[in-house]
Symmetry: D2
Subunit: 337 residues, 4 copies
């Protein structure tokens, strides 16, 4: 960390910064330039931040140098984390494909989606039972009944299930039925929920917040991990920008970037990222080529009748085609799908 | 709403859109242009959106025309909503000033802050007991003990209290001690919390999400109001942009914009918006001039020792000066402060 | 286009909108809803916009429905535009690879870069002679001498050259030496330059502006095309967002999106987009998989001594590896590279 | 500047960074932490950046500490720059009001606008003769004829004129007729134009780029100043964000921020920033309260017939009301208007 003093800072103000750092056990060095003085210190960022140096007289700004995350950091583990659920892995050489409808609507709808997923080669089934919706007047999900249908269909098809939780109550209920719990983009900084997820024994699929930096995203993972749950799967799903032709802007550079900063697996949701069915295929191929550990794809037996996100859902045929197109791209970079 | 058909859309595809709209009771009109056909309909946006028209063959896009909020809308009430708490109003001609520390740290700290607030003329005291922090390793608040201190100090000083709630549990506990419950920027779309707030009998101060559009913000208010609680105070606190010199970008145009779209009062938090103490005064004056119904200002008896947000906190003297500078601006636009 | 009237709009205000549209030859239809009235018209957007309806009393807003671009539009041509320069194509089945240094620094540097490019299989050489730099104190390019070196090296290696122009003067001078003229991100809305480029007989590589929407980008192409030059190559190079770990955010969804909206070829610059050498390879693979018609890659014989953009430049060996990695991805989607 | 080494960086890589810095005459200090080593140096940022340290092996990143601007910097002058044109000042205690139409359309239109401006107390007249338009099919301005009209009307009314230049040619022509030359938002990084403006003897009103950071904006001013012209007026006009209810997001915190970083005057354009007539008044009051040195307001004798930007233009009556409302706010902060 570097403390930049104002040009007119007094000698005793510099000394105060220096002594606060030294008192806490940091190696601080005062560096005098022609016009400015800075005080540099290397050490635990959290500890330094707690010193409140930015509020001291004479201090212009404090520039952090080190990353604030620890457990999620690549420095903790050179090896990639591989998460194994009911015999299927995420984070190894096979690209994990999670497919299914935005919302569980009925047994028939879910079973059709699951069969289409399995037929095309996917190993994971997604389906929302608790739906966070922008409008209070929109369909809010089947709740526990939806969870039961997911468990039932999973048993019949062997697919590993993924479903979103939105508070401590839904997390507790989902734990009884679901294999992987998803925390959605709007809850990425719902710290209570993150802590509860950290005490769960289920893997957590953590979506990137709508306008979360990579650092904030990894800090959200850190929340979960600091409570004991190391099985976190990160999911890039597009960020908010000024562009309006797409629902969000898919940030594929997040894949290699996160993989250099962290040992956690990263999957990509091209459906929510783009909001347009015709962009799902090319963005899937791009995600695979960029090194994504998995995909989260919205697929509905009948998109035109979907209770949510119809415009971005593939039908079973389109999904089959997507899988067939993605396989050679995976092979081209030495993976399977 | 306008359904734009693809240039190559077939006649029966247009007819299908038309008949779906008509079947639901909308007046639809098909308009034929030289190259394109569009179907226009006026009516309840939520009902139209539930038709899933965007997923029909031949449809290029659906352009919404009407606003999605109802109860929060200006169309519901030409008169401004005035919220009255323990004899003090928000939304009338007096600019409401809410001041206090980011976090309640001790009885002494809080009492000093409260006295400084009252001395300068503020009628509201803020202080965080439950702190949503980006890092799991940062100070998370005094929780219930902090609430008790707020109630105690409020009783002694007569100040109306404002404190943040972060889940259903903290909401329930705060209800026993606090006058106005705050929902923070990271929870603006925590829909469970919004619903719980809607069932509360306390006024809710709803901060704008970090990257929430005006429309999403008003829809979050709508969530609260649709559960029965009409006492919502909106709080602009800066949005996330590419600029890094400030913590966020304060969007003051949100004040007159929201006041034209909605009857709810709007207050401004210049402290979190800018993240810099020296910008708090000019942004306070600007907020008052732009017509803000209130201010939320961080003030700490000793900012250099604050457990959070020290760099943006005013000390009591600076706060006094802020109040004295803001008063003539309020008067210049026909208000008091 | 749809003209939305205020709820309290008077009948004669609606009539005025209707009659203005009708007088200009549009088919306007007035649609009466329960609370609102709208007037819908289909027709040339530019003509309708020139009517100034938004400023009429009673009008709340005007919502455009159609796209504003014409010549660049996919509706003009179902076939993709293929640009052929000295026997090499951009826009057909072979991914065009443009490689070379940010700035031409010397004959030796450029020749080494060119040889490395050719050895790896690239057919195009880039090199800046006129450099738009954020700081007036940074190296501004070799100007005409740089152009001459590009022409000389092109003659010896057979590589097709690409170089940036920054005003009418540099455009005129570059025309004598260079095969493809680049208009940079900061000049995407330098309309004088666009018009001059439209009168040139050279293909134009048009970079997307730092914060340009897809629509504005295509309108910039429209400027060039409306002056007669139909040979426009669009280049996605990252947009400005709140994320700071990367220089910009590469928007790969722009590739399929632009290809659905326009017939023009789209290439991708992963070097400027990310600003980090280690992200160039994965983003190259992703761009190819997403369907990019070409790549613009910074490569320097000795990046640590580059006069600009060293941190994002590959060295010749890394570039060779990139080409070898990208080839199977191109093949996986039915292309060559 | 701080050079952060990778955790696994070798001793000789650290030494190489150190010796490069020392060789260039910087005082470098190597700081060893528990896990990381950093090398800190204080000195001229431009000189350090030219060393290409970021591209050296073992270097993770280079974190700049000092600001890159010099002549525009507050460190050059504690006193505010006051610009005086034909007896009227910008940057002193009187808020400078610049009013007039988006585009000069005719002698009659301009004269009416000028008379309305003068009547209301404005001392400056704006009017575009060269219009940079997003669409090649929109009205592009009256060019030299517009300049002549501005000069003529200025002579008759005594108003100081402001008009936009878009390239070297229009700059040269405008110099003969106009008092203050404006460089628009799309040309903020048109470095050729900035240099030409730097060689002009006219004050330059430099608009902030659509997505320019404060730092880039001040660097654009630095371009002009480094060529010799110290009379630069900065103009905040809204930045691009995700919000769509307003045309741009007016960043009023830029006023006090720029005034702390620089000695140059800052004016605000509430018309382009918001794009909505009804937001111009409140944003004007806010800008004045925040300490703006001036205002740039679009006013047209008949907005419904304006050839551009009608929806955001005030009519003469509304402008008069704006001036009357702004005066007491200016007085409240110790200024006149």
């Amino acid at each position: 960390m570097v403390v930049v003093m104002y040009p007119q800072a007094k000698e005793e103000q510099v000394a105060e910064v220096d002594s606060r750092l030294t008192a806490m056990g940091f190696r601080a060095q005062v560096i005098y330039g022609a016009k400015r003085t800075v005080v540099a210190a290397v050490g635990d960022r959290r500890a330094i931040e707690s010193l409140g140096l930015e509020a001291l007289p004479g201090v212009e700004k404090v520039v952090p140098i080190m990353k604030p995350f620890k457990l999620a950091s690549r420095e903790v583990s050179e090896e990639n984390t591989v998460i194994k659920v009911r015999g299927v892995t995420i984070g190894a050489d096979q690209v994990a494909v999670i497919a299914g409808p935005c919302a569980v609507e009925s047994r028939e709808q879910l079973m059709k989606a699951a069969q289409a997923a399995r037929r095309a080669g996917a190993r994971f089934l997604r389906g929302g039972a608790f739906k966070p919706r922008t409008s209070p007047y929109s369909f809010q999900g089947m709740e526990e009944e939806g969870l039961k249908l997911l468990a039932e269909v999973s048993e019949q098809t062997g697919l590993v299930t993924v479903s979103e939780v939105i508070d401590e109550d839904s997390l507790e209920r989902a734990t009884a039925y679901i294999d992987i719990l998803q925390i959605g983009t709007r809850n990425m900084q719902n710290f209570r929920l993150l802590k509860a997820a950290g005490q769960s024994n289920k893997p957590i699929l953590l979506k990137r917040g709508l306008s979360a930096t990579i650092e904030e995203w990894l800090m959200a993972a850190e929340y979960i991990m600091s409570e004991g749950n190391q099985s976190v799967i990160l999911c890039e799903r597009g960020i908010r920008t000024f562009e309006t032709y797409t629902r969000n802007t898919l940030d594929l550079s997040a894949i290699p970037l996160v993989k250099s900063l962290s040992h956690l697996p990263v999957v990509v949701d091209p459906s929510h990222a783009t909001g347009k069915r015709e962009l799902v295929l090319p963005m899937t191929l791009a995600a695979v080529a960029a090194g994504a550990d998995g995909l989260l794809v919205e697929m509905h037996p009948n998109p035109a009748k979907a209770l949510c996100d119809g415009p971005q859902s593939l039908n079973p045929e389109q999904f089959l085609q997507l899988m067939e197109s993605a396989r050679p791209v995976a092979q081209a970079i030495g993976k399977t799908l």
